[in-house]
Amino acid sequence: MSNELVPVLTKRWLSPNSWTMDTYEQLEGYQGLRKALGAQPDQLIELVKASGLRGRGGAGFPTGLKWSFIPQGDGKPHYLVINADEGEPGTCKDIPLMMADPHSLIEGCIITSYAIRANFCAIYVRGEVLHCIRRLNAAVQEAYAKGYLGKNILGSGFDLDIVVHAGAGAYICGEETALLDSLEGRRGQPRLKPPFPATSGLYASPTVVNNVETITSVPYIVLGGSDWFRAMGTEKSPGPKIYSISGHVEKPGQYEAPLGITLRELLEMAGGMKDGIPLKFWTPGGSSTPLFTAEHLDVPLDFEGAAAAGSMLGTTAVQVFNETVSVPWAVMKWTEFYKHESCGKCTPCREGTYWLTQILQRMCKGEGTAADIENLLDICDNILGRSFCALGDGAVSPITSGIKYFRHEFLALCEKNAEDSYEAFLAGASA
């Protein structure tokens, strides 16, 4: 396993004015597009399949396979929708990417649209990041001006329009079907599946929904080829990945490394734990992925490795917490987030997060009892796999994994309560 950075998607980030067309074009920009337009769309789908590229939004679904689900010759318009609604606590890779190198995403969009025969692409960006939306819009305008977008792109006869759409501040709209509803102007709540977006997505037409990082990888694969791509990472999880390291490390930031790197290696690159205070727990891929502890420093951070160790790779948002942080408190804050962001459509998530939050808040105030821990776990069991979409599953991950590894901390809160009560009892007796 390498502990070297592999700047692919991040390679232009430190160049002067990296977000401009000029810089981009000087650094191989739109070369992948020129090459792609010379190929047949199906060849591109095969290429991406061969590269083994897997979705970078968290689920790791094979990208080429997803594209091949789009029915061809069906007479319906096809759509490409970019999920840039980055809102998971800890996750911060897509927004820096779009800030630093928006053209690489646009180039990926054009190649992908060409491959799936879409003439319209929407980039659904989290509404809170206005600066990023402005930068994307400026880049899209530059691309139109240069003939990379619009009619007859580079004389190929291929047309594409890109719209940058700002979300309205809902975490649920990162769920692909809720995103589509929101994009259509409806209330952002997840749709029933089937039908899947590949057959009935945006405006009931075949639609590919992909994450920013996924689509940005495409031009590099086109230029570098699938073998080059597969040379990085692991057999089942090939390619580079942006690891967003935040929290108690000396140098938090974006570290692009081959999939399968370990936290131990990442920590080394990030300068180690801040002030040398030891690691207590961490998330491999955002708050929806079950917690890891210092035991997991050598878990390979690829889709298989994270899953085998009882968590998920998620968005590789590595949040690092040292020993000063109370696990129940962190879990409570995360749960407050899920309660705030639950869309309300289904009972388990809507009511469950409401209940869990109150129990955790009460426990953190020292008013919990040991029975609360069992209740927390049972409520989590009634949410996990019972909710309409994965948001409910994600909401219980911090709690179940937190109790799994740090039950004693939860119990300690309850003991305090027991002591308080005893003291109160004694105080009452002496009065």
Binding site: A170, I172, R187, Q189, L192, K339, H340, E341, S342, C343, G344, K345, C346, T347, P348, R350, E351, G352, T353, Y354, W355, Q358, I359, R362, N375, D378, I379, D381, N382, I383, G385, R386, S387, F388
Partner: protein, 816 residues
């Protein structure tokens, strides 16, 4: 569905079906069926809240989770059985056999209850509440929730009739999905998110729907309640009796709940062929008119000395009536106006009473604008209509194209409107509305307006867009005519021709519940029961034989129609009138009617409540309301809609009984002592197989053209208006659409009223003043609701659809 008695027996799986296993039992189910239904057919009720068979699946409440195995592989998560369709080889374990499913269901139930108030003892839904029932069956015995419940101020009035308690709501979205999918009135929506998610209305856009009551009925908790029923009773204290709606000609199945002689509420009953599970708000809430203070409870006769009406015994009243009618019969004759709201049994009694006791064909039930052309149409085309041969609700749903002429379905036939909308949503029907403006129904049926001047409809049929003509030639296309067709010269004739040319089926959808029954009963001047022409000797002989009359007893000439009867009374040629429930303000010429009633004619009135007729009558005979008698309506499809007595023991007499007794006083026997007897007597006549009344052949009329001084009036009734059968229900009245006068901007400019908020529409008789609203009407046309203001189109203007009117700025700025 077939159950395997023996596992070794091979179950035959028919085409289009799949075989699956539910709780160890093999089941055959049609492809595409939802698992929850298949289980239900097997007798396994999986608890649910959001699921409703007539709404699209939502999968929101997660109450119906089951364990599913496909192709030998268990699905990783429990599946919502309300969204999963059956598949071959599927192995399903419900709560009966799967601890996982059972725990999942109990878990969801507990979560649904954590924020649910424990106010069951005062909740309207208590006792018939799916949440209560299922919580008892699948829930925990105690609650682990000790935290703070979410609270909301309550209730909020979604409309004057529908009240929302957000604390009780389980957010199943049945109401919002109903509004969006079935009624097409997206006036309530989900607001906010997470635990703050709630049902609400858009700002400045109140819940406005003629179907809002259905949301109350399908609400699986007590979150939606009606102002009319809220806190009135507990469901288990009520007696539920099947009933049929008495308002429009739809014949919707209803259920009337009552106790101690009083109706507390009316609900939609299930009838897949007619109203599915829906009724309109008028059918649901407009039943209080029978308990208004002006309800007639005992007979009255006009005192010879004082000239005033006074209470009388039945014996006296019937004697006075019989004597007066006998005298009037000898003095020139008696006309009969039964009104359009009768059951077959009652209408038959009027029909037979006219012929047998009064010896006349001067009978016309049509208490509305009518025409001789219509009379011929009713005899030739409508009489004998039945669901086997005619158009049905199902036909409307499945028709590739439906052309509506002079029919505003949402206002005049709400059930038909729902089917049109369903047909468009489910089968992509094309709906064409020939009318004057793009009404909400045009929009909600995804329809196309074929605009024309009022009165020009018949002419327009000859100039249909080629697309419409082509679509009508497709098999199963349907043409529907409405009540105001009678105001459009030549429309019945041209519509028949169009149907014949295109092969489309033709149906007539009147507005009142009693129309088809009155036609079948022969309550018309040209027809005996069963559509037998009065001028046909064979037909007369059949009736004479069945009625035990001597040959040649029945009058041979066609009688007078409504206008003829009133005219003859006014000029003294008729000396008596027998009038059922008729409101003179509904008549095409209320002034003539009042003149006739004031002419000294002897009037016997059979009515529920005091009216301008009863006040002028010589004898008033009170009759039973719909809930106090049994009977049969015939809906517009020709479908018989029998119903039993709801409130027993009132001793109130149906019209047929009153007329039977009155006939006895006049030495005639009707054999209509009870509705059952009347129906049996009618049944003895059998079906008419002989000659029918010839079809009308009237050329399309030339419509009034708007000019510089006159506009042309378009008018029809709004569903919820000032009709007397909606009296006593202010909450319902509050949901009426606002009464406005509609015209185009250009018309308003042409008449110099473009800047006026209030405009006055007038004739030489009088005027109606209303707020103006711009709509896409043809130039020179102004639309008024017929009966939504104190000044009505019939009474105040003496005009109707297609009449010439003036349009001016309102003089004093006050709406009338």
């Amino acid at each position: 569905m077939t159950l395997a008695a023996d596992k070794n027996t091979d179950i035959v799986v028919p085409d289009g079906h799949v075989k699956l296993t539910i709780d160890g039992a093999e089941v055959v189910a049609p492809k595409g069926e939802l698992l929850i239904r298949t289980a239900e057919r097997l007798g396994t009720v999986i608890p649910r809240f959001c699921d409703h068979p007539l709404l699209e699946p939502a999968g929101a409440c997660r109450q119906c989770l089951v364990e599913v195995e496909m192709g030998g592989r268990p699905m990783p998560k429990p599946q919502a059985s309300c969204t999963l369709t059956v598949a071959d080889g599927m192995v399903v374990k419900t709560q009966l056999t799967s601890p996982v499913a059972d725990k999942a269901q109990a878990g969801v139930m507990e979560l649904l209850l954590i924020n649910h108030p424990l106010d069951c003892p005062i909740c309207d839904k208590g006792g018939e509440c799916p949440l209560q029932n299922q919580a008892l069956k699948h829930g925990r015995t105690d609650s682990r929730f000790t935290e703070t419940k979410r609270t909301f101020p309550k209730p909020i009035a979604v409309s004057s009739q529908v009240l929302l308690d957000r604390e009780r709501c389980v957010l199943c979205q049945r109401c919002t999905r109903f509004s969006e999918q079935i009624a097409g009135d997206p006036f309530i929506e989900l607001l906010e998110r997470g635990s703050q998610q709630q049902i609400g209305t858009a700002q400045d856009q109140p819940f406005q729907s003629y179907f809002s009551g259905n949301t109350i009925q399908i609400c699986p908790v007590g979150a939606l309640t009606s102002a009319a029923y809220r806190f009135r009773s507990r469901p288990f204290d009520l007696v539920s009796t099947p009933s049929v709606c008495e308002h429009c000609a739809g014949g919707c199945a209803t259920r009337t709940d009552w106790r101690r002689g009083k109706i507390t509420r009316r609900l939609a009953a299930e009838d897949p062929q007619v109203n599915e599970e829906w009724i309109c708000d008028k059918g649901r809430f407009a039943f209080t008119y029978t308990t208004e203070p002006d309800r007639l409870l005992r007979p009255r006769v006009r005192d010879a000395k004082t000239g005033e009406l006074r209470d009388a015994s039945w014996t006296e009243a019937l004697r006075v009536a019989a004597e007066g009618l006998t005298k009037a019969k000898e003095a020139g004759g008696v006309g009969v106006l039964p009104g359009g709201r009768l059951t077959v049994e009652d209408a038959y009694a009027y029909s037979k009473f006219a012929r047998v006791a009064l010896g006349t064909n001067d009978i016309d039930y049509r208490n509305r604008p009518s025409s001789a052309e219509e009379l011929a149409f009713l005899g030739s085309t409508v009489s004998g209509t039945n669901p086997e041969h005619g158009v049905t609700y199902g036909d409307i749903e499945k028709a590739p194209a439906v052309l509506l002429i002079a029919l505003e379905p949402e206002e005049e036939a709400p059930g038909v409107f729902l089917r049109l909308r369903k047909g468009n949503r489910k089968h992509g029907n094309r709906v064409f509305h020939m009318g004057q403006w793009t009404t909400p129904a045009v929009v909600k049926t995804n329809g196309t307006l074929i605009p024309c001047l009022p009165g020009e409809e018949a002419d327009m049929l000859g100039r249909l867009p080629s697309e419409v003509d082509e679509l009508l030639r497709r098999p199963d296309a349907v043409i529907l005519l409405g009540e105001r067709a009678a105001e459009i010269t030549g429309l019945f004739s041209t519509a028949r021709e169009l149907a014949a040319q295109t092969g489309a089926k033709l149906a007539w959808i009147p507005r009142r519940a009693g129309e088809l029954a009155a036609i079948e009963a022969g309550a018309l001047p040209t027809m005996l029961p069963g559509g037998r022409p009065v001028t046909d000797s064979v037909a007369r002989a059949e009736v004479e034989l069945a009625w035990g009359l001597e040959t040649g007893t029945l009058p041979t000439a066609e009688g007078r129609d409504l206008a003829g009867i009133l005219g003859a009374v006014a000029n003294g040629r008729l000396a008596g009138l027998v009038i059922g429930s008729v409101d003179v303000h509904d008549l095409p010429n209320p002034e003539l009617a009042e003149r006739a009633l004031d002419s000294g004619v002897f009037v016997v009135s059979l009515d529920l409540r005091e009216s301008s007729v009863t006040r002028r009558a010589d004898v008033v005979l009170p009759v039973a309301a719909i809930s106090e008698k049994a009977g049969t309506y015939i809906n517009w499809e020709g479908r018989r809609r029998p119903f039993p007595v709801v409130i027993t023991g009132t001793n109130r007499l149906p019209d047929c009984r009153v007329l039977d007794t009155l006939a006895v006083e006049m030495d005639a026997d009707l054999f209509t002592q009870t509705p059952a007897a009347a129906m049996a007597d009618l049944g003895r006549l059998g079906h008419h197989t002989g000659n029918r009344i010839p079809a009308p052949s009237v050329d399309a009329g030339r419509p009034n053209r708007p000019g510089q001084r006159h506009a042309v009036l378009a008018t029809w009734h709004q569903l919820i208006d000032h009709g007397s059968m909606q009296d006593g229900e202010p909450h319902l009245a509050g949901t009426a659409r606002p009464a406005v006068a509609r015209l185009s901007v250009d018309t308003a400019k042409a008449f110099g009223v473009a800047d006026a908020a209030l405009i006055t529409v007038g004739t030489d008789r009088g005027s109606v003043t209303l707020l103006a609203e711009f709509a896409d009407l043809p130039e020179g046309v102004v639309w008024l609701p017929s009966n939504s203001t104190p000044a009505t189109v019939r009474t105040s203007l003496g005009a109707g659809h297609g009449a010439l009117v003036t349009v001016t700025t309102a003089a004093n700025g006050a709406a009338s």
